[in-house]
Each structure stands twice: as structure tokens, then as C-alpha cells.
Symmetry: C2
Subunit: 347 residues, 2 copies
């Protein structure tokens, strides 16, 4: 899922996203609730209509951004109190409020509010945080099943689904307990939270394998906030179905491009007269129309469209990688694909 | 002609430009000669190939930007000496060099080097400047007709045309003399320079009418650097065929949008929940897919795509205006169109 933080996947038109085959995008509840505000979006018919996007959308709970505010937030049992990064105004994000806001936005998949544990954490801290997340998840599920309060008006998407989130840090016993608790609540899908936060990659993979294995095989499993192209392949191998990450879009804006043979930085002087496309294996608009030399020129000249062209390419690379994974699974050649993919990119 | 300063019409992909029917774009010789450099562009096959644009392109001579450098340039009979705004390096732009650089770029229409007179100017200053521009034009034409010097290698566009530029400030006698001198040199087309530089609009219109009337009716007449939508209509009425201006693109990036009923600034609070398109008469991607409310949100949130959507709209408005002018001329209804266009936009 490309990340559309403020109702737009940065630098792209919605038709650009459609053209690269984006089947679902993510919106950040924290940003949208503050600007332009969930009440306004609801009044204008919901997020799909507001941003002109008819394909599926997932919204996060807003918790991750709130917990990133550090000294501008305070955590209590009822929820998280925080000050807006825009104007310093005071807000309270409770499990119920996170559900209501997402109902107003009308996303297709809403996430429960969870506590995002910092890495590293002790077993005690991780246990306390995980059980709090479980209590919050239960409150979210109850609110979700009760439907929007009448005073709030109708939600804008009666078909909205809700995903629970497994926490527990890197501790196998806590992950197992969290997976079981979350599963018992009966969500439409399940996410793996609290990963890709700085832990060693092998620990992340081990935790993904353990956690995904305890979640229902016939429901979507979503790894939040990951990752590199290698992570996509390795985590699908361990049971993950869905990902979101700002890496393809953010790195594109910094000139870093993903290719079938590894990453390149388009600012490098070696590309000044390189007439080859970024990735000869790629069929995106950027690779079929422009040379590395032109992309480097645009980037060095500070032209905004450099970021658009880079973003188109990186997202295409990510979406193509997922498509190739799906194809390989269907053809029962995933293991061969996986080895070849990793070999090419480390060569 | 949308202005593509550094080999890109700011914020747009080439396919966006094609989709709005841009038949020709402008490139700035000053910027391109400094970065990435005309030698590099020639080595990579010329500007069309370098930027991936197969439709016509016009390049200016570089003179206008050089004269804008104020204390970083020195004017002598041979040409203009200047320091790069990028790294302070010293360069000399002579009439011959302006021709050679544009030959290397391989644009479809090249412009002669002229002296850009500041407004206001005395008759003496305007006369001296105009005769110098005429001497430079003669040198440009000779160089152009002689073809690229063998040592420079072949130009990248054997079909390149060259336009002369009429100067003379706002003085009818000087404009007439300049038009006659320029016409005698036998260019493929003729431009009106030194206008839209701060003079009263009625003086510009009068000078355009006088000058255009003395230029060959069967060759293109190009008013450089103008103007507002009203200017397009009023100057076509006075004999102009071609325009270039940064106004639609620059204003778009500042949130100012042109509509059939006048200009609006999308930042204004009144648009916060306005579900109407920018211009209900417009068929551009922006107007057919997005509301003023969404455009305002994107702009206020600092999303780069706001500038892309605004630029798509403004350029569409300009190109549609020119198309409507052409249609009206073909239908012999131009005078009716003109009155209705001006009435709607001032209402």
C-alpha cells in the first residue's frame, strides 16, 4: 500500500497511482483528523469522495504518529493526550475516538488504536504495553460493532472492515499471547505492529514467522510499516499478505531508486551522461521515457517533477515485486523466485 | 507555449503536457547552457531526445535572463559578459554563441540575441539599443545561414528555424524602423520583444498593433513574455500568432487559478468546503476529478501535487483559450468571441 499521508500519495496524481496498478492506498488518521479534519471530510462524503479515489483505502488509527510526538503526548489508560504539531492545540485520542474518526473518514479498512512500544523494551514494559493494547483493541471492537453513535450521523462506508494489531515486542511468549487475545476478538483481518522499529532484521523475521503462524490463514495478515523489497519477499515467505511503507516514496524524493539489481542514487555524478533507464527490466513511465541523465539533471536542478518521476518508478518497483510474488505463488515457483530475486539484488 | 525553463515545464510530466494538448513548449537557453550544458545535451542527441519530448520546441537566446542578472553582467558591442547565478563562473554570450548553443540544443525555433531594454527608457537609449539589436540580429542570421562550424559537429536539428526580434521600446518611429530592418533580414518568423515589461497595457496594445501590422502576414508573429488571458485575446486581435508566458505555471504554484469568470486564489478560506470544480466550464483532469475543497486542502497541507493539479488547470485554461480563438477565427466569429470572453471575465 502506497502511503497517502494527507490524502495524497506525495507528488502523484490519483491517475498516476491508478496507472501503476495501485489497488489500495493508506491514509494517516492523525494528519487527516487535524487537517482538514474528519468532520469536514465526513460532511463532504468521506475520504474516497474527498480525494477522488474510488479504489480501496486503509486508515491507520493515528496512534503511531501520536506516539512519535514524544514530549507532546501523555499516555493514560483511557488513551493518549497530545498536542497538534500544527498549532499546539490539545487533543485526546481514545480507542473509541479512533474508531469514530475512521468511521467518518469511511476507509475500507480501519485499524484499532494500539500502543506503539519503542525499541528496545524490557519484558515487563512489553507485557504491560501489550495487555493495554489488548484492552484498547477490545474497546475498539465494541465501538466498531455498535456502529456510529447516532449523534455522529451515519458513517460514510457501511462496508468498513476493522483489523486488530498484534503487539508484544520481540518476546515470543508475549507475541503468542497477543496473537491469541487479538484473534479471539474476531477481527476482519490482523496486523503485526511494533516491528520495523530498529530491531535486527533476523529478529524481525523470526517474530513475523512466529506471529503470522498463529493468525487465521484465511484472513489478511498485514505487516505494518515494512519494509525493503527484500523484506516484502522474506515476510511473504513467513505468511504476510499486506504491507505499507513510506520507503519507496520517501526515498524517491531523496533521489534513491530501487532496481532489480539494487539501489542507486540518481544524484551521483556517474549518471550525468548515462542514457540507460533506471532499471532496464522496469516498464514504468519513468523507465520507458527517460534516461538516468535526464533524471539526474532534473534532480540537480531542483525540478519538482524529478520527485514525481522517481516516485512513479519506486512504487512501480514495489507493486511489481508484489505482483511477481503473487504470480510465483500461483505458479508454485515462489521459492525459486525468492532465491533469484535476492541473488540479483545482492550481486 | 508553456515555459519549460530547465528542460521541464515545472511540476508536469511530459505525458501531462501531451494530455492537455500542448503543441509546442519553450526552453530557456540561459539555464540549459549552464546546467546540464549545451555540449552535454548535444552529445546525448539534442534537447528533444534529452527531455523525451517529440513535439516542437522553441528556445530563447538566453539574452533575457542574462540582462536580468543586473550587476552580474556587462554589455559590450560584441555581446554580454555575465557570471553564472549557479557558481559565479564567467561566460560570454555573443550573437554567434547564442546561435551555436541553440543549434546544439536542436530546438525547432531558435531566437536571435537581442538587447532587452528596461522600461522606461528615453528615445535616445531606445534608439541605441534597437540599432545594436539589429546589428546583433544580422550577425545571428549570418551565423545561422552559414550552418554549424565544422568543429562543433552537426547540429541536432537540420530543420531548425530562426526568428528575428523587433525592439524599439514604446516609440512608434523606432518600432517601425526595427520592424523594417528585421524584416529585411528574412527570418522564418518574427517576434515582438521588449514588451510586457511594466508599461501601461494600452501602450503595449498600441505597440503590438503598430508592429504586427508591419510584419509579413504569412509568417508567424510571436509576442514574447505575454501575458494574461485578456492579453492573448487582445493581441491576437492585433495580429499576434504565438505567445509564451510563465504566468499560468508560476501563478498555479502560488495558488492562483484562472477561470472563465476571473481569477481565484485556492488558499482562500471560502473554498474549505466548496465541492465545485475550479471552473465548471473546464474539462481538465483537475476540474473533472477534484473539488476546490480538496485543492485547498492539498495547498494548505503543502502537498507538492497541489502545484501539479493547479498547473494542469491553468495551462489547460490558456491552451483552451487559444483553441477557442483559433476556432472563432475559422468560424469568422472572433469579434463576438472576444467581447463575450472579456465580458464574462470582468463580471
Amino acid at each position: 500500500m502506497p502511503v497517502g499521508t494527507q490524502g495524497s500519495v506525495k507528488t502523484l496524481l490519483q491517475r498516476d497511482l491508478e496507472s501503476i496498478g495501485a489497488g489500495i492506498i493508506l491514509g494517516n488518521t492523525y494528519h487527516l483528523m487535524l487537517r482538514p479534519g474528519d468532520a469536514l471530510i465526513a460532511r463532504l462524503g468521506g475520504l474516497h469522495r474527498f480525494i477522488g479515489w474510488s479504489r480501496p483505502m486503509l486508515t491507520d488509527s493515528g496512534g503511531f504518529q501520536v506516539f512519535s510526538l514524544a514530549d507532546r503526548r501523555r499516555l493514560i489508560e483511557d488513551g493518549a493526550e497530545f498536542r497538534s504539531h500544527l498549532d499546539g492545540s490539545l487533543h485526546m485520542l481514545t480507542p473509541e475516538r479512533a474508531v469514530d474518526i475512521q468511521a467518518r473518514l469511511g476507509s475500507d479498512i480501519a485499524m484499532v488504536l494500539d500502543e506503539c512500544l519503542a525499541y528496545p523494551a524490557t519484558h515487563d514494559a512489553a507485557a504491560a504495553s501489550m495487555t493495554r493494547s489488548a484492552r484498547w483493541a477490545r474497546r475498539c471492537r465494541e465501538r466498531f460493532l455498535a456502529g456510529m453513535p447516532a449523534a455522529e450521523g451515519p458513517g460514510t462506508n457501511p462496508g468498513q472492515a476493522q483489523f486488530g494489531i498484534v503487539q508484544g515486542g520481540l518476546f515470543p511468549d508475549l507475541r503468542k499471547e497477543s496473537a491469541d487475545l487479538t484473534r479471539e476478538m474476531g477481527f476482519e483481518g490482523y496486523a503485526l505492529g511494533g516491528l520495523s522499529v530498529g530491531e535486527p532484521i533476523e529478529e524481525m523475521y523470526a517474530t513475523v514467522e512466529l506471529t503470522a503462524g498463529r493468525l487465521p490463514p484465511n484472513q489478511p495478515r498485514y505487516l505494518m510499516g515494512a519494509g525493503t523489497p527484500e523484506d516484502l519477499v522474506e515476510c511473504v515467505a513467513r505468511g504476510v499478505d499486506m504491507f505499507d511503507c513510506v520507503m519507496p516514496t520517501r526515498n524517491a524524493r531523496n533521489g534513491q531508486l530501487f532496481t532489480s539489481e539494487g539501489r542507486i542514487n540518481i544524484r551521483n555524478a556517474q549518471y550525468v551522461d548515462d542514457t540507460r533507464p533506471v532499471d532496464p527490466r522496469c516498464n514504468c513511465y519513468t523507465c520507458t521515457h527517460h534516461s538516468r541523465a535526464y533524471l539526474r539533471h532534473l534532480y540537480m536542478a531542483g525540478e519538482a517533477v524529478a520527485r514525481t518521476l522517481n516516485t512513479l518508478h519506486n512504487l512501480t518497483f514495489y507493486l511489481d515485486t508484489m505482483q511477481r510474488i503473487r504470480d510465483a505463488i500461483a505458479l508454485r515457483t515462489f521459492e525459486t523466485f525468492r532465491q533469484e530475486f535476492l541473488r540479483l539484488r545482492s550481486s
